[in-house]
């Protein structure tokens, strides 16, 4: 008998008990749907983390000014600018693992354009910053060494600032005022999105480091070269922790810290934080998929249950088929195909339900979801495997019946 003929017989047998078949299928439908939805939710979370790593700039280490112990009083982090521009140049020059080190000062201010104003963060940077952060302009140009050397009043705007001050018009060439100092907008930065902590990276205005110190943020009285942080780009991801150690060593040496003294700076390897987040979201995905798989397993048990009932109910039919020439394997195939048909139809409906569920979650809960085509293939194959696995025992039971007994069965 051809597989197609067997399948037709199976579909007919399933249609005899429509409600029963539908309920049995439901187990598989929910199982497959749950696997697809849960994997999509997990993959969405992973993609989000991956994007954050991307937006941070790859292989980024941030060195922040740290706490200072002064006369037994430990001041909090950032209370004093312990880092200097020279620290940044030293890092860049003396640590070969480092590709670029960009000193940065940061402050906050109201930015005014025409009758619009917007409170945002002001960052003073050197050209190395853009390389370290992998940050490009979408119009205009980046800041150059000449801007820093000449302390020009040039500014780059983040997307959020651009939107709030200029709405849809092009800001390049326009003049904005920061703390009453007029700045010419030379470029608009590409979108970066939020950091892991939910901070909007696009809500910023970037100006030359020198200008920031002289005109906007102001320089420390103690040290004109002090900066708030240094963004460091390491050459390769695998050198991250080595670079971190070398930076620490170098800075401790430069700051003349004794072994008993704490670091007066903080090194933040944000990629590492994100990577651990990614790992945990990957674990979450696996966990979700595993829980969803359990429902697929339960659906399979439902199939087995109903197939056992079916074999018992149709004992006489089996006996008759054997009497007219069906071999054991013909009967086995028939019931196996029936079970697999149930699970495959359930699988197809489940895929539909899974995609719908994914869409609903993305739409109503506004969670990031990502449907991986592989998860559909895997869920479908798993459904088929469940059909074969749980259909096999009832089918073998049917095939093993004695035709005489089966014909006599009441």
């Amino acid at each position: 008998m051809t597989l197609w003929a067997t399948t037709r017989i199976a579909i007919r047998a399933l249609r005899v008990n429509k409600l029963r078949s539908a309920l049995t299928m439901l187990g598989i439908v929910i199982g497959v749907g749950a696997v697809i939805t849960m994997v999509a939710v997990g993959a969405g979370a992973q993609a989000r983390v991956a994007e954050q790593i991307q937006s941070l700039g790859s292989n980024m280490i941030v060195v922040l000014s740290g706490s200072v112990t002064s006369g037994g009083v430990r001041l909090g982090s950032g209370s004093q600018q312990t880092l200097t521009e020279d620290d940044a140049w030293a890092i860049q020059r003396e640590i070969p693992l480092v590709e670029a080190a960009a000193p940065t000062v940061r402050g906050g201010s109201q930015v005014v354009y025409g009758n619009m104003n917007w409170g945002t963060s002001i960052q003073g940077v050197t050209p190395e910053y853009f390389g370290a952060r992998d940050w490009q302009v979408i119009s205009g140009r980046l800041l150059t060494q000449e801007d820093v050397d000449g302390a020009t009043k040039s500014a780059l705007l983040g997307q959020t600032v651009t939107f709030n001050l200029f709405a849809d018009s092009d800001p390049v060439g326009q003049v904005i005022r920061i703390k009453n100092v007029p700045f010419t907008v030379v470029g608009v930065l590409d979108r970066k999105g939020q950091t892991t902590y939910g901070q909007d990276q696009d809500d910023t205005v970037i100006i030359p480091l020198s200008t920031a110190k002289k005109k906007v943020i102001g320089a420390s009285q103690a040290n004109a070269k002090a900066v708030g942080s240094i963004s460091v780009k390491v050459r390769e991801a695998r050198f991250m922790s080595a670079a971190e150690d070398e930076i620490r060593g170098l800075l401790r040496q430069r700051h003349r810290l004794q072994t008993y003294q704490d670091d007066d700076f903080w090194i933040r390897n944000l990629a590492e934080v994100l990577e651990s987040q990614e790992a945990s979201s990957r674990v979450l995905t696996i966990l979700l998929a595993a829980i969803a798989s359990v429902s697929l397993l339960v659906g399979g048990i439902g199939i087995m249950n109903i197939m056992l009932v079916s074999v018992t109910e149709r004992t006489r039919e089996i006996g008759l088929r054997m009497a007219v020439g069906a071999r054991g394997r013909d009967i086995l195939t028939q019931f196996l195909v029936e079970a697999v048909t149930l699970s495959l139809i359930g699988g197809v409906i489940g895929i539909g339900l899974g995609l719908l569920g994914t869409y609903a979650i993305a739409h109503f809960a506004e969670w990031r979801t990502l449907v991986d085509p592989r998860s559909i293939v895997v869920a479908f194959a798993f459904a088929a495997a469940v059909g074969i696995f749980f259909g096999f025992y009832p089918a073998r039971k049917a095939a093993g019946l004695d035709p005489i007994e089966a014909l006599r069965y009441e």
Binding site: M1, A5, R12, A323, V324, G325, R327, P403, I404
Partner: protein, 253 residues
Amino acid sequence: MADLLIETDRLVKDYHLGTRRVHALRGVSVSVHAGEFLAVMGPSGSGKSTFMNLLGCLDTPTAGRYRLDGVDVSAMKPDELAHIRNQKIGFVFQTFNLLARTTALENVELPLLYSQTAARDRRDRAHAKLAAVGLSEREHHHPAQLSGGQQQRVAIARALINEPVLILADEPTGALDTRTSVEIMALFQDLNRDGITVVVVTHEPDVARYAGRVLSFRDGLVTKDEPQTDLVDARRLLATLPHDYEQDEEETP
């Protein structure tokens, strides 16, 4: 002999019922020629059903040999027996054993599903056999929409579909009224006249009267094996029976 269709040699069949051993057949040697009409009689427990199961290749003997159509089938494996049943034997049961919710035509086709027959061919042959038993008009009816006699005729058409050498009928009229029973027996006699060997298992002497040879079983042995002395022609008997209004449409061709 060349035309010996059934040849059993001291067939023995034992069953185990718990720890007890039941001797269902204790050495049965029977020869049946092609074209015979044989009735197998005996009370329940006489071994006639066991004999029938062995003849039908549904079971294998504990000892002894059975040759069907020149082939020794007594030591065959289940799959080989299934093939023999499919090709050489047509079964007719007391309770018809038709598949519910399946049309008459598809019921008749069933054995062909297990003999690699093309769909078109299956349909044509089922068509022809249903016509042969006078049910062309009922091809697309389900068993539930047919009378008992009609159902049994569908079953007979199914038994004939693979052109078997042997028709085995187990109490074929057990569930039918008198007139319908005679009609069914008339059908068997027609088939037998066309050359098909028919074996009918029954405990009703009335049914045995249509067979040319009667085999009686008791306690697992053949006690009598004699030609029918009082052979009845079912078709002539039918002419004398009053017509039942319900059965009018069932006139055999």
